[in-house]
Amino acid sequence: MLKSNKIIDILIGGEAGQGLATVGSLLARSLASRGYEILATQTYLSRIRGGHNTYQIRAGLSSPRSPGEDFDLILALDRETIPLHGHRLESGGLVIGDQEIVDASLAGTMAVPFREMGPSRTMNVSALGVLTHVAGLPLDVVESEVRWAFSKAGGKILDDNVAALRAGYGWAEKQDKGRRGLPPPGRKKKRMLMTGNDAIALGALASGLKFCAYYPMTPATSIVLAVTRFSEAMGCVVEQAEDEISAVNMAVGASFAGAPSLVATSGGGFALMTEGVSLAGMTETPIVIAVAQRPGPATGLPTRTEQADLNLVLYAGHGEFPRAVLTPTSVEECFLATKRAFYLSEKYQTPVFVLTDQHLADSLATIPPLPAETGDAGPATADPAEVQAPYRRYALTQDGISPRLLPGFSHHLVRADSDEHNEEGVIEEDPANRILMHEKRLRKGAGMEQEVMEPHLHGGEGFQTLLVCWGSSRGAVEDCIDHLRSEGIMASSLSLPQVWPLPKSALAKWTQKAEKVIFVEGNATGQLARLVRAETGIESHGMITRYDGLALTTGYIVNALKGMI
C-alpha cells in the first residue's frame, strides 16, 4: 500500500486496564507537540478490564487522512498482540514487548526486561520510554507530556512514572536496533489536537450552546464529557437525564425557553429519542442531536464502528417534518458541521443531526487552529417590541419560518403545541388549517435544500471511476484515490459532509461524468446509495460495504475494488 517515508505507523496492543490508552495518547501528544501531524485511532471492547484493545498512531509531516494498516513499530503489552498483528509489521519494522512475550532472538524484535525498570503499574510508561527512543523523539518532549499527565496525581506517582520513562528510554538507547524515526519536522505550525467528539463539543460551545442533556452511551459520552469540562466557563447547563426520552424532552424544553440545546447518543439511545425528535419537528423547536454510530441491531457491538443508522436518522420520528443530517468527514469537520447544525437548527427551528461513528468519534488528530469567534451565534429571535399581540408563534410565512420569541422575556405569550395547531399555537383539528401548517413546516425543508454543505471532490475533475462516500470513511477513500492514481487509474472521490437535504446538483454533476459510480459505506445494505437513487435516480455500479465492526481502510477499499474497475 502507498506509504511515504514521511509517515510512521505505530500500533500498541494490550488489555483494557493496562494503561494502553495512556501510552498511546502520551505518544500521540508528544509526536504532535514535536511538530508532526498525527491521526490516532482506537479499537476496544465492551469491558473495563482485559480483552484485547489497540491504539494506533499514524504520524507524518503532512496530515494523515486515514489510519495505517502496516506498522513500523508494534508495541505488545499483552500476549495477543503479536499473533493478531505481527504479520502487519512493515519490513524493517520493529516489534517491542516484554521479554516474556517476544522472542529476543528474532531480528526486528526488542525483548524488554520491563520488570527491571520499576513496578508493574508503570510498565506502560517504561514502554513509552522505549518507544520514545525508537521513534526518534527527544526524551524531554515526551517527559514534559508525562509530567503534565501525572501532575495532578503528583508526588511518588509522578516520580515513578518519570523514572519509568527514563528507564525505558535509557535501556533502548543501549540496544543497537537503530531508530525508526521520522525526518525532523520543519518549523512548527500552530496546531490543535483533539478527537472528533471533542470537536463536536467545541463546535457546540462555539455556537452558543447553553443546555446539554444526555444519558451515557458509548461512543457518544465523550462529547458530553468535553462539554461538561467547559460548561461552567461557557455558561452551559449540562444534565445527565434518567433516560434518553427525558434527555431529548428536557433539551426541547430548554431550547423552547431560549437555550441552544444539544443531546448526544448512539443508535439504541437514539431510538428512544425518536418521539421527541418528532415533537421538536412539530413544535418547531431547534435542537441538535449528535448520533455517534456503533454496530447494531440492539446492543450489537457497543464499542465498534459502523455507518448503519443513516436510515434511522433520516426517517426517525412519526409524521413528516423537515430536518438536516450532517455527516462530518474529519475531526476538523466535526467542529464545522456542528456549527452548521446549530445554525440550521436555529434558523429553521427544527431538529438537525450530526451523524458520526465510533471511528471518527474516537479519532485523535492534529488540526489547524479553530477560530475563536465570539458573538451572537445563537437563535435569531424577533424583537418583542415589533411583534403584534397576540403573538403568533406559528405565523404563516413564505419561507415557513415564523418569527420566534422566547417565553418570559416580554409580555408576549409563547405557546407551543404538539397537536396540530393554529398560528397562535392552539390545538386546531380543522383539515384546512392542517394543510396550511403542514405545508408551512415542509417549506422550511425546501429552504435548507438551498444551502447544503457541498461534497468534497478529491482526485481531480478528470476521472472514469467515482467513489462516493459519507462521514468518517472519507480519509480512507481519499488515500485510496491517491493510491489508484499513483497506479495510473483515473478515479476520484466525492465525500458527503451532509446527506440531507441531499446535495443533488453536485451529485448529478459529478456522477454524470463518471463511467462507474461506486458507493463506499460502512454498512451492509448501501444506505446512501439507496437514498441517492430514491432522490435523484442516480444508479450505482457497485458497492463496497463493510459491517464487521471495523472502520473502512484504504487497503480494504483497494482490495474490494479489484475486479470492479
Binding site: L202, S207, K210, S231, A241, S255, F256, A257, A377, L406
Partner: protein
Amino acid sequence: MSDPETRFGKYETAWCPGCGDFMVLKALKKALFEADLHPHQILLTSGIGQAAKMPQYLHCNMFNGLHGRSIPPAIGAKLANPELIVIAVSGDGCIYGEGGNHLMAAIRRNPDITVLVCNNMVYGLTKGQASPTSFQGFKTKAQPRGAPWQAFNPIAFAVSMECSFVARGYAGEVDHLAALIKEAVSHRGLALVDILQPCVTFNHVNTYRWFKERCYLLPSGYDPSSWEEAMNIAREDMEERIALGVIFKKEMPTFEERFPQLAQGPVAGRARVGPEIASVLSEFEI
C-alpha cells in the same frame, strides 16, 4: 385585570360538562391570580390527555408536549430560565404511568417547579382504561375483570422519596385547591399536588359523592414537617378516608442552585459566545 378570568382568559373547552377539570382550571387561575403572577411570567407544560389540555385554556406561556413527558420539558425550561414560574400539569396516566420514571428522577433532583396531577383514576382521553391509580378490580372495557394491579399511592411514594412538597387537593373544593396550588407554586423546590378529579364519563366509582363522603381537610394543627405523620396520612385507606392539604414539606436546596452557571441569571437569552471560547479552544493547542 382584577379577577382571575380577566387575567388568565376564558376559553371554550373540549371537556365533558361536569368534568372535574373545570374546577381544577378555576382553582389554578385563582391561585396564580392570588400569587400575583402574570401570564408572561408563567410557563405551563403538559403531556397529552384530558387534563393535559389545561394549558390550552389558560392565557400564559405554554409547552404542550408528549404524553408522559410533561416534566422533562418543565425541568429543561427551568434550567434554561429559572426566572420562569414553571408548572407541569397532566393526568394520572401521563405522570404516574407513561412518565413515572421522570417523576421519580424529578423528585430526586428537586427543581423549583410545580407538578399538578389531575388524578381521575382512569385514562380519560383514550376512553376509559384503568390507570395506575385505578383501584384494584376497577372494571373497564380493557380490564373486564378489573384492574389487576395494586393502585399506585402517589402520596406514599412521594413522601417515601422525601419529595420537597407533597399535597393532595380535590377538584370539588376549589378554594382549598386554589390555596394549595398557590402554596405549591410559592414553595421553593419540587411541589407535587395530587388532585382528585372526578371523571363523570369513565369513572363511575370515584364520583363526586364518593369523594365527598371520604375527603377531609387536614386539621390546622397538622405539621407537614413530620415525615412519620405524613406517611401515616399517606397510608390511610382511601376507601375509608382521604386527607386533603399539604401532607409533607421539607426545605432543601433546589436543583437550579447547584449550577454555578445559573448564578448570574438565566442562560436562556444570554449573549451567546463570549471571549471565554478562546481560552477553551486554547486548551487543545499543542
